[in-house]
Subunit: 453 residues, 2 copies
Amino acid sequence: MTSVALPSAGFGAGADVTYAKLSNGLQIVVIPDHRAPVVTHMVWYEVGASDEPRGTSGIAHFLEHLMFKGTNKIAPGDFSKIVARNGGQDNAFTTQDATAYFQRVAKERLPLVMEMEADRMANLRLLEEDVLNERQVILEERRSRVDNDPGSLLSEQMQAALFLSHPYGIPVIGWQHEMEKLSREDALSFYKTYYTPNNAVLVVAGDVEGDAVVKLAESTFGKLKPTANPPKRTRTIEPEAIAARRVVLRDGRAAKATFSRNYLTPSYTTAKPREAEAMEMLSAILGSSGTGRIYKKLVAEERKAASAGAWFSGTGLDYGRFGVYAVPAGETPLESIETSMDTVIAEVQENGVTQAELDRVRNASIADIVYDADNQTNLARTYGWALVTGRTIEDVKSREARLMAVTLDDIKQAARSYLDIRRSVTGYLLPDPKHVAAATKKATVPSAGDTIR
Amino acid sequence: MTSVALPSAGFGAGADVTYAKLSNGLQIVVIPDHRAPVVTHMVWYEVGASDEPRGTSGIAHFLEHLMFKGTNKIAPGDFSKIVARNGGQDNAFTTQDATAYFQRVAKERLPLVMEMEADRMANLRLLEEDVLNERQVILEERRSRVDNDPGSLLSEQMQAALFLSHPYGIPVIGWQHEMEKLSREDALSFYKTYYTPNNAVLVVAGDVEGDAVVKLAESTFGKLKPTANPPKRTRTIEPEAIAARRVVLRDGRAAKATFSRNYLTPSYTTAKPREAEAMEMLSAILGSSGTGRIYKKLVAEERKAASAGAWFSGTGLDYGRFGVYAVPAGETPLESIETSMDTVIAEVQENGVTQAELDRVRNASIADIVYDADNQTNLARTYGWALVTGRTIEDVKSREARLMAVTLDDIKQAARSYLDIRRSVTGYLLPDPKHVAAATKKATVPSAGDTIR
């Protein structure tokens, strides 16, 4: 076990972050935040949907649900009840690259939740009946979140068309026909392969001190042995993007036609220096509501769109995505929206952006860093996410400096390199009373699946 | 070892096919054909590109090349030379579902090629240097066949967009960036997993008798032990197709704009009775040159297209594809071509086809069966292909009867079920001097890669 207190630098107030590693391989990050006597306790596993064995899509998320089922000490379904009885809240989430479990509790309860989280890291018990019941829950979650939402269905299809080889093309929730076959054995095999202290990161933010938390972790998680050597996360990589793709989804349940386009980009982990930061700045310059170029042209000036914008998703382990979208005003055809969007993009590729634009969005981003630091959950998430996607605490702390280093030329280069139509999938969502696109047309029953986990 | 002579039924003259299985699991099919003193000798392995480990695309085809490198008895590169010196020809091919090696020799040479083929089934020797050299050959094959041919590049991209989950979306030749890393170990691992008598089918067609061939096989292949238990071929299956996809490839090297569309269908192995036969008949009714509906409308009547047609590829283990295409006449935009194509398809979905049309294409298909039986290589291929894709000798023999059973309603149903735009990828190839789509722009050097293997 080694423990190092890192000096605060850049990430808001009080970020005197402690990093430690137990001898069983568990990494620990402690972020003191003394404004209230509460703590956020998160355990991150370096495994996500993109690490699933072929043909078992959804197993990472299914296992996340099943982690609430119980252990030798905790009866099936009692985990969240115990947290609630102690005045806390808990939840979990699964992404392509990571799976995380968290509780927010009064600081006196930290030993309790640590004990419980360490327990289920090693001692999960799954009854066949619970597994079958929970499978219905995740299937229902898919129905309500994806199959009953044409916009989500289109996003899923666009993602599948964007990634020709990399598993980001497979939805985190899973393909329905594969989810239907997920078994207790699949879940336990995934658990045994990836849920081990040497594949986890403990993040504690709140009214605590680094050394005390590390000591506490030593006495709980520290008792666990490493139980597996998780395989290196070598995912298939994309062939060079050479052909623009389009996806059209017609669905009578769609309220409005929608235009969207996603471009394949690198992520913060894989980009060259300043590239990801430049795309983030560009997405704000193009996409901010009210002040962004897309809004100004499509909504304010041409009055073609009711809303429009852009975003950059750069947190993936392997790839990022840059998105633009617009919802037409009145009956404007999507083709006309697309022409205007293409004009905005061509303009920024040709002439870049202005220093005033860059300053504006950069100031806003730096303000966001400060606001994020005020939110304990965001703090914990930011550090946890960085560590499970190949970045470091220093990367988090240097974020402001990295944003300051972005130049106008970086932005123009990023627009030219990555907003290339050959790297893109364009999606049209078209309301069409003749079609219901969903695989499953059953009525939705609200369920536990509607929470984030 | 069991050996059964099957009565001739339906597949041309002289198809008194013998089927046998050796105790090491090798299946044997013998098709007597006494018109000339020659034999076609094929060994089929029940493994193809769709069985490759993730991230090693191209390894099935790479191994097929490396099988010509040598064994303990045959010096590297001598295999084909020995066949040629004995007056024969040899070659091999790899597909998504199967890999096959074949020789055509004078019948006296059958023992020789059997001995050689049995030898390399068990005793392949690969020198690191030969592997590295051969990797350059397959990379060159990719450059010359795919990267330098915009039409092939578009097909590859369309296939990748058609299959969201199933490995048919990965090209048989491999993605270049994965091919560049294929190693001797990858090849030997694939060889050891799949090249074993219990995963192979021997097909001999020619001036031979069943019993004699089985005896000969017993004395050559029969000496081999089964060396592996190849994993069951469970590939990921496709989610329900819900959104039409499009791919646009711009490339200055394209001589002409081209419209094409592929629909996802079942294959002969996976279709319900008469469905695949119905699609085959439909593809001929729509697609025959000169007499098909597409030709008549787009080329003869509207004069929009210089050529146009349709095809059905139904031989896959898991899925088939139905394709339509057209090359515009003069400057006809592809959008106009597409509108006419949609009209032809909607018409057949609405009203079906006529008995006269069905009779015409069915008679042509039955004539083809007879012609195929006249070609020894086709005979051997037809039986070998059936056996490695989950069909039987009886399936081959009943082909004529199955075609006769197709009804007008079967065809209308197939058109309605499968020529559904949501199951499709539409491709536009657009000549555009500003773009060269290929990943690699190196000049082509003609090489051994230009042969079928």
